[in-house]
Symmetry: C2
Amino acid sequence: MKSVGVIAEYNPFHNGHLYHLNQSKAMTGSDIVIVAMSGNFLQRGEPAIVSKWTRAKMALNAGADVVVEIPYPFAVQKAEIFASGSVAILDALHCQSICFGSESGTIHSFYKTVDFLEKNQDTYNQYIRHFIKQGVSYPKALALAFGALGKKEDTVDLTRPNNILGYHYIHAANRLNSDIHFYTVKRHTAEHDDDHIHDDQIASATSIRKLIRENGHLESIRPYIPETTYAEMEAYYQSYLHWHEWEDYWPYLQYRLLTMNEDEMNNMYDIEVGLPYRLQKAAEKSSSFRSFMERVKTKRYTWTRLQRICVHILTNTTKKDMETAGNKPQYIRLLGISAGGRAYLNKVKKDVSLPIVSTVSSFPEDLLRLDRKAALVYSQALSETKRDRLFTLEYAQPPIMT
Amino acid sequence: MKSVGVIAEYNPFHNGHLYHLNQSKAMTGSDIVIVAMSGNFLQRGEPAIVSKWTRAKMALNAGADVVVEIPYPFAVQKAEIFASGSVAILDALHCQSICFGSESGTIHSFYKTVDFLEKNQDTYNQYIRHFIKQGVSYPKALALAFGALGKKEDTVDLTRPNNILGYHYIHAANRLNSDIHFYTVKRHTAEHDDDHIHDDQIASATSIRKLIRENGHLESIRPYIPETTYAEMEAYYQSYLHWHEWEDYWPYLQYRLLTMNEDEMNNMYDIEVGLPYRLQKAAEKSSSFRSFMERVKTKRYTWTRLQRICVHILTNTTKKDMETAGNKPQYIRLLGISAGGRAYLNKVKKDVSLPIVSTVSSFPEDLLRLDRKAALVYSQALSETKRDRLFTLEYAQPPIMT
């Protein structure tokens, strides 16, 4: 049984994802697709529009066989850590290959890029430090350092978001001494973030979420998503009367920022000197998340890094919490599984070095604490009984079976 | 110019309070009434139904001359500390007398009680420790210890809530070496807490709030409040579309309890060993503040003590914060003042040892931090722009002038 791994957020699952899923199977000749998916909060420091359970269902309905959660300490992180956690999980589950979407579309160029940077590592790191000292953001410094290394042939453009992730996946596999083979599918839409639609069937997740918010209903996104996604999005709304967005959490973020003391602020993960005061002053003056973000954004702090910091403040995730979580995932939380996925897991599970968590209650509570807090925070967007109903899933919902 | 001090919460101001205000002036022959009033959170660990600004207006409209705020570290506290903070403020403002409502109604008996307990202090304290060891609550232990001291003549019944407060007022004045004279007015309604109405013009604040909640409008409370209170209650509702209650804060309390770590819980003011786990487990299972409280209540922890602890958790008030605040108020925050009150303050202010805060912006931010956090938390019951509008008053509202 051959398996291919996919790293995804499915926010929500759309036709581009479906194309990628099918291509992943076809290109690698795999029987089984394993998805490592972000939980309720995403890599860019945003709440997912619907819960991880609904997004896992979307993936299963579209042909995924196993959906596992990227644990919070790896999901809400910069590309490098996000990649290392995701790849480690897929490696632990014995995927023979990983297939990712990229702007480049040529796997050969990725391997070349990783090789090139590993050979020029010291100079590269010197450049990175140099540019960071000039006050630019970390991702910007990476791109500038890469450019400063001079002319290189056949490498990928490391200013594009999906190329960056792809690069980090391969780099992470190297550091794990993993023999996973990588494949890449060229993305149909121009940009991960693009909120314009250029195609009559393919639109980015960003533009799809924008359509939902602008129209307040799902009809307008129908051309861009599988029918199964439509049904799950509708079911979620009927059940919770809500699609999640950052503004839902603003009252909680403002409340936290304005009641925390200095020590507590400084303990928060990824917070640097000077930022607490800046965040607290802006929170006092802002009446929406958007206006708050516009106040705190600087050249040094990217929008996404600040969003991640805000998620960590919401979930009360400290530097110590992240240290304790370590630099490799310590468990694999199973969100959903197909019949094929069950057969696969039964075959490989004796060789899986990490515990696979199906029933939360039989697992040490402490290890899952950060995911649990993220689930609690995520559910605060809902009103009363719906809030409790959604949070209860975190410990009561068994993996979804199809 | 003679002044009498009154210690109050006015939640909301009703005919009983008006009677007490008028009696206080008449009994003491005072020109000026100074009210030390709780802010947005009250002694019993509850949010006030309307903000401190509206309650200050009610008091001014009914004849009060100066309304000052009992700072948070003294307002949300057991009777002894509440009394010591309130009396210290009225003493600093040079009130010649304090007049309080009580079940007893006989000031002579209060002085006797204070004398008796000061004389029997050691035995009394031994009894208190004895009963606390048996697992009863602190107020219950006080009452039992008082009973155990045997037969005494002409003392007040220290199982009644207003008698207890009155006792602590006099006791606090003694410890301050203050020469304030005390007076007491017998309360019309049987109990502070009584939610039944026995009179056609006098009802307890508790029963008035109950009527508002049950009926959803103010018409039913009209017989029990001055016309000016009616107008202020209506204006508050028109402005904020809300009357505050504990359930409004439940999502925030649950969120805090389920995202705090053990150290943070143990740092919270008035938290004792064993309580964090109990609170967190109950928060997980409860979908309302009421059901939460019913789960955590024990013989040892009274409902009001637990409510106060919950307010401290909401405002993130630590043991260290309360230590820093000290055991005497460090400032007097002026909420409202009449023409008479201005004349009085102009006369005495050179002899007032504490700074009088009229403009928050000209005062060290750190000292007012706990009041500010309380105001922030209090405003979280409201939606979006109303929340910000109410919170802004905390630093932008000058004292109300009449």
